[in-house]
């Protein structure tokens, strides 16, 4: 039957597994079956580093078989529904109901309707309270789990932090409980004692008349009042796979990924990742080189990518990059270095690794004026950008991409004009070069502006997001003033960012909005061809929830935030101080220049103790 279906869908290899380095086990020889679900299409999910790590981490346990599940593309879903074929895991083809755990990774808010859809396709009840003893336990982790509340009525338990830390303990408990004939409820209660585990049903929320939270309290004695994230202390001792699943079809990132460090020293005030992964923890160059060798050897990939939030900040970067280039020239393995700051060294490096074609060079000033860049603590100056461009133009790069955000706190039209001025200044820099000395193709500058989404666990978590209309006006304003023909202006759909803003800072009342939107046809929301804004608006109306309440309302510092019971190790006072510094246009130096005492030193490792 599967073959018949697969002959009728686009890219059938999405559904067959069988990749290089796929783990094969006999389910009957294991005690725990874990379905790792990525709520997006195969090519996106397979490019995700977290999946690769957790897959081998869980499978290193003899008693556990971790398999993979992705969201079937709409053509496949349609066939599956027609044939009444339940959602299955790629390794064994077994349906999800046979698993002990069904685990979702939450990488972006706009994948939430896919989670609902996948549960439904698996024949598993959507609401946590409707599930029975025989149903799998639904667990979720990943960056969006730091505000788990919008999914609180759907997911049974959340894992807050890095997978390598608490999964062993959790699975041991599960196995023991199962052996002793314990119920699911028994297991949940025991799991309350595991660090980083949050089980929403053991907490009650009461609301004020204005819709804000009045109280958030455990209803079970064993439930901790604050759940602190768990993180790896020593990256050299932490598990990292020496191989990688190599897909049989092209994926978004078709290469080996080497994680250089976790966290970011920079402290950009809009960036959630920069705070939730604190503190910075590096791997040693020795360990990285060893890992690189085995990853390449075991995958046969032709490209290795050094991954982190800001790879150039790695202390051993020069040494590492130089050594990798020397090592792999012979084997025709190229090295890709995303997220590099543009300076003389990195340009020279890029020249060497050939990973970046002469066409594209990327800067992320995020804001158009120095004033606003100081507000968001983006430590890059106009001079740095222009100097970088000058070097690049001299080296023959002629295509510049600039990333900005609109709707940042305190933004005025002057800041928006700054976007125009900066791109013009870059053009001028190019035209300063005498005609006969210009290299490469004609200059082109692409300006992309995203819509700012305030995120939990950032200093901007209290601020109001621009409304869709405001975003549209701002985008038009920039577009109108962007008059030079060498500059191309792209902008994101504000409707999507607006919903992201709702879900990012939402509370548990949003579970019903998500489910209702799905009922009305929303899925694959982050794919513009599927994005159905009307379904969402209808869902808010049908459930009596206000979109504006979540997205466009400024909160006061003393309001109970829906994620206050989660701790990322950074004090609320630090965020308040940062917000005030932002208002005053004061920058905060990065972790290596001067510690700002955010609180993350409590984890006892990383950059705080360098």
């Amino acid at each position: 039957m599967l073959k018949e279906i697969l002959l009728q869908v686009e890219k059938p290899a999405r559904y067959i597994g069988n990749e290089i380095n796929m783990v094969i086990k006999k389910p009957e020889d294991t005690d725990i079956r874990f379905a790792f679900c990525f709520p997006d299409v195969y090519e996106v999910g397979m490019s995700h580093l977290g999946l690769q790590i957790l897959y081998y981490f869980l499978n290193r346990r003899e008693d556990t078989y971790c398999e993979r599940v992705f969201a079937p593309w709409h053509d496949m879903e349609q066939k599956m529904r027609e044939m009444k074929m339940p959602l299955f895991a790629l390794e064994t083809g077994d349906e999800l109901k046979k698993f002990d755990f069904v685990g979702f990774t939450l990488q972006y808010e706009m994948s939430y309707t896919n989670i609902v859809n996948m549960l439904d396709l698996a024949g598993i009840p959507i609401w946590s309270r409707d599930r029975i003893e025989e149903d799998p336990i639904i667990i979720a982790g990943g960056p969006c789990a730091y505000n788990p509340e919008p999914l609180a009525d759907i997911i049974d338990m959340f894992y807050i932090g890095e997978g390598e830390v608490s999964y062993d303990r959790l699975l041991d408990l599960y196995k023991e409980n199962k052996k002793n004939g314990g119920t699911k409820e028994d297991f949940f209660e025991k799991a309350l004692g595991v660090e980083g585990i949050y089980i929403p049903k053991y907490y009650d929320v009461e609301y004020n008349e204005d819709g804000t939270i009045y109280s958030f309290r455990p209803n079970n004695k064993k439930a901790p009042s604050v759940i602190k994230k768990v993180i790896v202390k020593d990256m050299d001792k932490a598990f990292y796979p020496d191989k990688q699943l190599v897909p049989l079809i092209e994926t978004v990132h078709d290469r080996v990924t080497l994680e250089v460090f976790r966290g970011c020293i920079r402290g950009c005030r809009f960036c959630q990742a920069g705070y939730v992964y604190r503190p910075v923890r590096e791997k040693s160059t020795d360990r990285l080189l060893k890992l690189a060798d085995s990853l390449i050897e075991n995958s046969g990939h032709e490209e290795i990518s050094l991954i982190s939030l800001s790879t150039g900040d790695y202390r051993g970067f020069k040494e590492l990059a130089g050594e990798l280039i020397d090592r792999y020239a012979e084997d025709k393995v190229s090295i890709s270095l995303p997220s590099l700051r543009i300076d003389a060294f990195s340009l020279e490096l890029m020249e060497k690794v050939r990973a970046v074609r002469k066409s594209g060079l990327t800067f992320a000033p995020e804001a158009g004026t120095q004033r606003l860049r100081d507000v968001i603590n983006k430590g890059i100056t106009e001079k740095e950008i222009l100097d970088g461009c000058k070097l690049a133009f001299d080296g023959g790069w002629t295509r510049v991409k600039l990333y900005f955000m609109t709707g940042l706190p305190t933004e005025t039209d002057e800041d928006l004009m700054g976007i125009v001025h900066l791109s013009d200044a870059i053009l001028d820099k190019f035209f300063e070069i005498p005609k006969e000395e210009r290299k490469g193709r004609p200059i082109s500058v692409t300006v992309s502006s995203a819509c700012f989404v305030p995120k939990p666990f950032t200093p901007f978590q209290w601020t109001a997001q621009s409304t869709v209309d405001e975003f549209v006006r701002k985008q038009r304003f920039v577009k109108h003033n962007m008059t030079r023909k060498q500059v191309k202006y792209n902008y994101h759909e504000p409707e999507l960012s607006s919903l992201e803003g709702v879900l990012a800072r939402g509370d548990r009342r949003l579970s019903k909005v998500i489910v209702r939107a799905w009922e009305l046809g929303a899925k694959f929301d982050s794919w513009s061809e599927f994005f159905n804004y009307d379904a969402w608006l209808q869902a808010f109306e049908d459930t009596g929830c206000s979109k504006e309440f979540y997205a466009n309302r400024e909160r006061s510092y003393d309001e109970i935030l829906p994620w206050d019971h989660i701790s990322i190790g950074i004090s609320k006072q630090f965020f308040i101080d940062e917000m005030e510094r932002a208002r005053a246009g004061q920058v905060t130096p990065n972790c290596r220049k001067k510690c700002a005492h955010c609180g993350a030193a409590s984890f006892g490792g990383g950059v705080c103790f360098e």
């Binding site: 009728q8 597994g17 290089i20 796929m22 049989l248 995958s299 046969g300 032709e302």
Partner: protein, 234 residues
């Protein structure tokens, strides 16, 4: 000129692996050779690539036990060693069946391929299938319409069919055919099926038909020779 040694590999592509398209298969084999640590020969130039040539792409969804690919290695290696190392690195559904060494001047498999065996299973029983095939074979010419780049033209496919034999003993209808495959003349099995079904007043439901490609041949003076002959014939 280089000092590379050319090898020809025959491999099967079955089960789940039939859902991998041609370009993905190419990349997959290149990676497999790297993992198997073969001394791969690369092309010269700014963007070197592995020297690897397929006889003819296998359409997605079709199985095969006779795929042919030519590769180049920088050192001579034992043929079994090549085969074993590759097979250790291949997932279920693809396996190398044999390896032969080629003289450097041998025409590439892509240039040489002329005919292919196909075994086609129709998951439905057609009692009069022998008669229909006899009718096909008795014809001197078979004109069908083919649309290439929006232009329709009529072509005679009869010369492209060497043989068809039917096995109608089981509870499904099965037949083997040997048809032209390659740049000199090419008949897709689907096109042949389309024609056979038209004689029965039906059109084929490709989802309920299995096509297995077998041996690929080259033609020398009217005689068919397997592209990758077994050792004793060499």
């Amino acid at each position: 000129m280089n000092n590379n040694i050319k090898y020809r590999l025959e491999f099967s592509k079955t089960d789940r692996m039939i859902f991998i398209g041609h370009l993905d298969l190419l990349k997959f084999l290149q990676r497999t050779m790297k993992r198997a640590k073969l001394p791969i020969g690369y092309s010269w130039g700014y963007n070197p690539h592995q020297l690897i040539t397929f006889a003819i792409p296998l359409p997605l969804g079709m199985s095969s036990v006779g795929e042919i690919v030519d590769i180049q290695l920088t050192q001579r290696m034992d043929r079994d060693e090549i085969k074993n190392r590759l097979n250790e690195n291949l997932p279920e559904g693809i396996s190398v069946l044999q390896v032969i060494e080629l003289e450097f001047r041998t025409a590439s498999c892509a240039a040489a391929v002329a005919y292919a065996d196909y075994c086609i299973t129709l998951y439905k029983k057609y009692d009069n299938f022998d008669e229909i095939i006899n009718k096909v074979l008795e014809k001197k010419e078979i004109y069908i319409e083919r649309t290439v780049k929006k232009k329709t033209k009529t072509v005679d496919i009869r010369p492209l069919i060497r043989s068809i034999c039917v096995d109608n003993t089981g509870d499904v209808t099965e037949f083997n055919c040997n048809i032209a495959t390659g740049s000199q003349g090419n008949l897709k099995p689907e096109v042949l099926l389309e024609y056979i079904y038209s004689l029965m007043g039906e059109s084929p439901d490709m989802v309920r038909i299995d096509i297995l490609r077998g041996t690929l041949y080259t033609e020398e003076e009217g005689v068919l020779l397997p592209l990758c002959p077994e050792e004793e014939f060499m």
